[in-house]
Symmetry: C2
Subunit: 257 residues, 2 copies
């Protein structure tokens, strides 16, 4: 499925932002301006994950991450999640979210069944869409590889990391409910990982996040845990994630830079 | 007690290494050559901790950390631990180490009593010595402040961080036995912390390390956990610790650099 560019604008710091559609899925692509110059070398790509709040609401945080990536010479891209933003709602997911709100309001425990219902239909739809987006993005002349995956719903990142060999490094955010299936898939992940954990994340089960980190089979995995709640990720944690991608996507640079 | 410089040599990368004694305690001081130039501004200091293996054995790892610090414009210094290296043995500590070897060989559990006996006599002696070393080091014209503490026996770092207001940031290595008293002292630590944990450290109790990280009262604390055993700390973890000290000891630099 080809990628259809619908708009292009130049941000103030040498970043080209393009809106695109992939079939009926909207997406955003950011590239360093230098990548569009004649005879420039195709650049690595970071696929940016995000929560289910929709691209419009997430735009400020996404573009900040995209600018960071472009400053390191990387393209970055993201697509709308199934059932989010302007995409059609998915009844099973809407029901699961209503069920979650119900148990949270009643102060009841969030069961594995609710977590599965809340997560697995999303992962089952989103992962093939991410892979199609990669197919199309890697056809663009500015974009070469390797590919990194960064952030968003962790179960999507885990399945992509376990199943798509084009992804060579993943930065994951341990900040969402983790279904049992994700722990199993984690044991098949072998690529380098950088896992961000907000130690006091009110929406997260810290022990589950530590268990998930332990489950990954990757020889190189780094847990970066910081204080603060779900949205309180400190700027230096973003810098640490950027250092991780520099190490793995641009291996010719001096280690540590 | 004044610091007595006993030798000075210039390393190949613009670092001045000086041996000193503080009473009968031997120590090492590294400064960037630029700090000795006339009219140069006094530089921050990182006090380097180390395990109980003695300065001679630890020298290669210490000088690597010192070069890293000097490249960032920081002085660094370390002193021999009580009962280590060429310093007189401490019978109570020797007995505790023999007891530890005994229970490890017998496959018996390491009790709180053994951990206390192994650690507290060392901490009680080492912390006042570190403070005296800081008194003397901060009198040197090249050294101003602020002061960071890095690595070594974690109970020493915790007590220094809890009790010496000159120390503004600490990088701790969760890789030694942690006595119960250290958990109590951790609750009084409020300075920014960067805690390194080797996830598969054969000499470390991972859950105890996570509990200790949780106990610190610091608003800014970062846990950086990596794969590998006690001595397998990856180079990028050293870079992350260096970034931490740059943020807190040289606040005028651009965040993230």
């Amino acid at each position: 499925m080809p990628l259809h560019i619908t708009s292009e604008r130049h941000l103030d710091d040498g970043v080209v932002e393009r809106e695109f559609t992939l079939g009926d899925i909207p997406g955003l692509l950011w590239t360093p301006e230098s990548a569009s110059e004649p005879e420039s070398t195709p650049v690595p790509l970071i696929l940016l994950g995000h929560p289910t709040l929709g691209l419009h609401k997430m735009y400020p945080r996404l573009v900040a991450r995209a600018r960071h990536a472009a400053a390191d010479g990387f393209a970055s891209a993201t697509i709308e999640l199934p059932g989010s933003g302007d995409r059609p709602r998915i009844p099973a997911l809407e029901q699961a979210r209503a069920d979650l709100r119900g148990v949270l309001q009643a102060g009841e425990p969030v069961t594995d069944e609710i977590i599965d219902a809340l997560t697995l239909p999303l992962v089952d739809r989103a992962v093939p869409e991410c892979r199609k987006a990669l197919d199309a993005l890697l056809e663009l002349p500015e974009i070469g590889g390797p590919v990194g995956y960064s952030g968003g719903v962790i179960s999507i990142g885990v399945r992509l990391a376990a199943t798509d060999p084009r992804i060579v490094a993943a930065g994951l955010f341990a900040g969402s409910f983790v279904p049992r299936a994700t722990f199993e898939e984690a044991r098949r992940v072998t690529i380098p990982l950088h896992v961000l954990l907000q130690w006091d994340d009110e929406r997260n089960d810290r022990q589950a996040a530590l268990n998930l980190f332990d489950a990954f089979a990757s020889k190189e995995k780094c847990l970066n845990a910081n204080m603060g709640g779900h949205t309180g990720v400190p700027p230096h944690a973003g810098d640490a994630a950027a250092n991780f991608f520099r190490r793995h996507l641009a291996p010719e640079v001096t280690p540590g830079n």
